[in-house]
Subunit: 206 residues, 2 copies
């Protein structure tokens, strides 16, 4: 068989698989993972359950793949920022802005967070490991700013978790029909979080 043909078929296969995952993500987010069925996902794509099985074996595998793809994107974007050579302040700003781009584009997937409890242990551990990798990289930017003396040192770990919470919460309220663009939300988040790390709360207390 000529190599070209196989490869074309592979591309088609992967595209189809990706489409299945995207549809599954939307259905999970709308109905809840537990209530969604493989039959519904197949029907939406005009597939039989048998031909769906050719691409992906179970609902759990779908949830796993969806979560891993989103985490991969987030980690890749963050690693680009880490390699950027920017100073810590600009690095944190870029990390926040690029992450907001991803979580708003993938806000459907974002609503599936916490569902990893439903995965079998081998997959759950992979999801948690990828998430930990993201959080460690994010914290490393903050620590860099703390060490450089530009970010408040006091309780910096809690502050880092607060910042991650602000970002991780976005999929819960973001709507593509909202007033602000993803860029504007990214800027607003970066402003808020950078102010939060800057110190100087004393000027506000009465």
């Amino acid at each position: 068989m000529p190599k070209q043909k196989t490869s074309f078929r592979e591309i088609r296969y992967n595209e189809k698989r990706q489409k299945i995952l995207e549809n599954a993500a939307k259905l999970f987010a709308r109905k809840g993972y537990e209530k969604a069925t493989l039959e519904e996902i197949a029907a939406k794509l005009k597939l039989t359950k048998g031909s769906l099985y050719h691409y992906i074996k179970s609902k759990e595998e779908m949830l796993f793949q969806i979560q891993m793809q989103a985490l991969d994107q987030a980690n890749e974007a963050l690693e680009r920022v880490l390699r950027s050579g920017l100073d810590p302040v600009e690095k944190l700003r870029e990390a926040i802005k690029s992450h907001v781009q991803i979580v708003t584009r993938e806000h459907v997937i974002g609503t599936l967070r916490q569902q990893e409890l439903l995965l079998p242990r081998k997959w759950r551990e992979k999801v948690v490991a990828e998430r930990d990798r993201f959080e460690r990289a994010f914290q490393s930017i903050i620590l860099e700013g703390v060490e450089a003396g530009v970010f408040e040192r006091k309780n910096w770990r809690i502050t880092a978790l607060a910042a991650l919470g602000a970002l991780n919460w976005i999929p819960r309220w973001y709507s593509p029909r909202g007033e602000l663009s993803a860029e504007e939300i990214g800027e607003a988040m970066a402003d808020f979080i950078l102010r939060g790390f800057a110190g100087g709360v004393s000027s506000l207390t009465t």
Copy 2:
């Protein structure tokens, strides 16, 4: 039947029901709501499934009651702050600190957020309405500060959502065995969020 006796029986009944809910919350948080069974909850409390049914009819009702109790507490605490007569800065600080007290005490329940999709519509709508009530009250404090000129007006709605995200995320990382007490976490959160509302990010940009 003497009234005293009935009332004593009611207290016992309510205590037992509360204990069932607390055990269910822990099991849901640990295993995931879907994987936990009524049989397990009953067994943990040395009850038969039949006597469990005397207190509560379904897993869905447990999830509903657990979420509503936590939201009630959060709303009550926030309303006390709203009535306090403090200025906006101190009001926001108190709101954050008292909310952190609740979410750290109830961190098990906090991990059950997002699960309301699993509830029947009539209950789901109540949970969402209580949550909206909390978020509106929280935003009203921020708006008060914006109007008073002490909080940054630009993108204040996004900033309010960022602050709520930081708080709502706490149950995901909080551990009662962690280094900092709930009080210290509350202070750190309040410092971070108040700095975030204070403006003055320009001093940080390079």
